[in-house]
Amino acid sequence: MNKNLPKWVDLGLIPLLTLFLAFAVSGLVVMSIGQNPIEVVRVMIQGAFNPFGIGHTLYFTTNFIFTGLAVAVAFHARLFNIGGEGQAGIAGVGVTLIMLSVDWPHWTVALVAGTVAAMAFGAAWAAIPAYLQAKRGSHIVITTIMFNLIATAVVGYLLVGPLQAEGSLPESPKFPDGAALPTLHDILGVVGIEFDRFAPVNISFFLALIAALLVWILIWKTRLGYEMRAFGHSERAAVYAGISPMKITMVAMLISGALSGMMAVNTVQGEAERLVLGAVEGAGFIGIAVALMGRSHPVGVLLAAFLFGILTQGGAELQFTLGIPAQMITVIQALIIMFTGSLENMVRIPLEKIFLNTGKRGQA
């Protein structure tokens, strides 16, 4: 990213320092509402890692891996996909439609069908903003924001209209039993390891790990990934090298939308087994924080997604044990986005000064 800084500073030290700052300010917020930060950290870690909590932590992590990868892929082509929320929401509709259309004989078939539907619907919802950016020059950030809000209205309409189950709740009918995905309890049970029977984490977690591997291959080992990165570095140079902006914008956004969409396999098919209102729960936005912290690298995304999984589950425990509203986590997330994203230069500029000076001295 930056030639002035050694790689370990750029990829290791800066994210850690910015994270530290974000946590330090979070600590101040905790103190300002009359709580003890050390106690808060203890409760959160305990809540995220106890035998009951870990299954939830990994479940949330799965969501954030998908949405984080989605933002990261778009970032490589210098596209800011802020529409993960809407793409995942519409993907949920896709999963629901396909799950309710057939009486699924076996989960393997249902998993493939669900994944394909989620990817297709997520990609489709990203396609229009991508096309408008590439062809008509509309700013992708604004259009994806608008598409998030339109998606909310669409899902809201479907759940009190055509897709609503009998009864007054705004939710779809339950999927057939054959569509149910194996949970981590089922999977680990095969090899004789005990795991919480009620934990929502399911086979999608492994799907997320595979997705991370595939994204790594795509970005660093394929021609397309190279073109995306070239386009992200300099659009003019990329065009000069014969790379089509239209193609890269479309492909990057379609992949990004498909990845966001895959989150629905975890939440809609894996956990709720029906479509409910607000199924995405902000995971699309958290993907931004995850990609920023993870430096848009799949390994970084995995680590950051796990951190946010811990925060989300730990935050639920905070409410339970200490009565601190779950919004505490929203604040921490905001501070992480702020410090690792927009305020990053606060750390980077001084570090560049230090390393540039020592570098010069070294040469002299």
């Binding site: 917020v29 950030v141 604004i142 209205a153 919004q327 604040v331 986005i337 994203g341």
Partner: protein, 338 residues
């Protein structure tokens, strides 16, 4: 038909103005920021923080000393307004520091501010008032009351104009009237003052402004202070000037984004911003009055009205109906050449 015109249309227009006011203020707030070359997708967050500050401080100022308040009577509402403006300016300055001084990513900063606002308002609200993130119900003196304009009552019986004056123009609170004054002021500032000219220039070509010896940084900070003030007013209106009479969790519910949509719709111009927000206000009014809209040949669900501002914005952005071209330097941090 006559009945529809006199009653329903008048009532709809009246609520359209009420719905449009916070949109208009937030839209003008965004106008200052974006005209100066700073993208602002954090309007929502600033409004939310302001709405909370207004609700919380107006409640505290109006409460009796025994209940832990300051017993300030009728001044409470102004304390709330001031708190809203200060809170919103603080948020705007965080955005300014990140975008101007540190030359960080303006979009990411906006996202962070929205998140921060959604969290911190509930967190502090719960800590102070223990009402699940809400602030206490506001009473007289703690909120803005409708103003009955002169002769509204006596002219009520004049055909057409009487009801229009009485029901539509009269009877809003001070922020409503203020917001329309600010439209005119903004037009004047933007097109008839040196500051306005420079601000527009800094959003199009900061290099040229810098060459002329004018500080880009100072101009952009000033613009963002105005953005803060206007978002403060917008937020204060929500908790002090509507039937809500207090702050509720996530009470902006996307209005910051509708304002952003209106800004694009209005092509970053003040007078069209007023029409755009009135249009979106009308859509909201129709959407809240009718659950579904029967057009005779088809029935539109309420959610369609909810989504219409966003759909219209996408269409406008795509340039199918008149192209919306944003200020040229928007989103790009300015690096002084050395």
């Amino acid at each position: 038909m006559m009945d529809f015109l006199t009653n329903d249309l008048l009532q709809l227009s009246d609520s359209a103005i009420r719905f449009a006011t916070p949109l208009l203020l937030a839209c003008l707030a965004g106008l200052y920021s974006e005209r100066a070359g700073i993208f602002d997708i954090g309007l929502e967050g600033k409004m939310l923080v302001a709405a909370f500050a207004a609700g919380a401080f107006s409640a505290l100022a109006g409460m009796s000393v025994d209940d832990g308040g300051w017993n300030m009577g009728g001044a409470a509402v102004w304390v709330g307004l001031l708190a809203a403006i200060i809170a919103s300016i603080i948020m705007a300055m965080i955005h300014a520091f990140a975008s101007i001084t540190l030359r960080g990513n303006q979009l990411i900063s906006g996202v962070a501010i929205n998140f921060f606002a959604a969290g911190i308002t509930v967190l502090i609200g719960q800590y102070w008032f223990k009402m699940g993130g809400q602030t206490p119900q506001l009473h007289e003196g703690q909120r803005f009351e409708p103003i009955i304009l002169p002769f509204a009552k006596s002219l009520q019986d004049v055909p057409v104009l009487g009801p229009v004056y009485h029901d539509l123009i009269s009877g809003h609170n001070i922020i409503v009237y203020l917001s329309f004054v600010i439209v005119a002021l903004t037009w004047l500032i933007l097109y008839r003052t040196r500051f306005g000219l420079r601000m527009r220039a800094v959003g199009e070509n900061p290099g040229a402004v810098d060459t002329a010896g004018i500080s880009v940084v100072k101009l952009r900070y000033s613009a963002l202070i105005i953005t803060g003030i206007l978002c403060g007013l917008a937020g204060a209106y929500l908790s002090l000037g509507t039937a809500a009479a207090g702050f509720g969790k996530d009470m902006t519910s996307g209005r910051g984004f509708i304002a952003l949509a209106a800004l694009i719709f209005a092509k970053w111009k003040p007078i069209p911003a007023m029409w755009a927000t009135l249009l979106f206000g009308m859509l909201e009014a129709v959407g809240s009055k009718y659950q579904t809209l029967d057009l005779g040949f088809m029935v539109l669900p309420g959610q369609f009205m909810q989504a219409l501002p966003y759909i219209l914005t996408v269409v406008i952005l795509a340039g199918f109906v008149g192209k919306a071209i944003p200020p040229k330097a928007g989103g790009e941090p300015y690096v002084k050449e050395r």
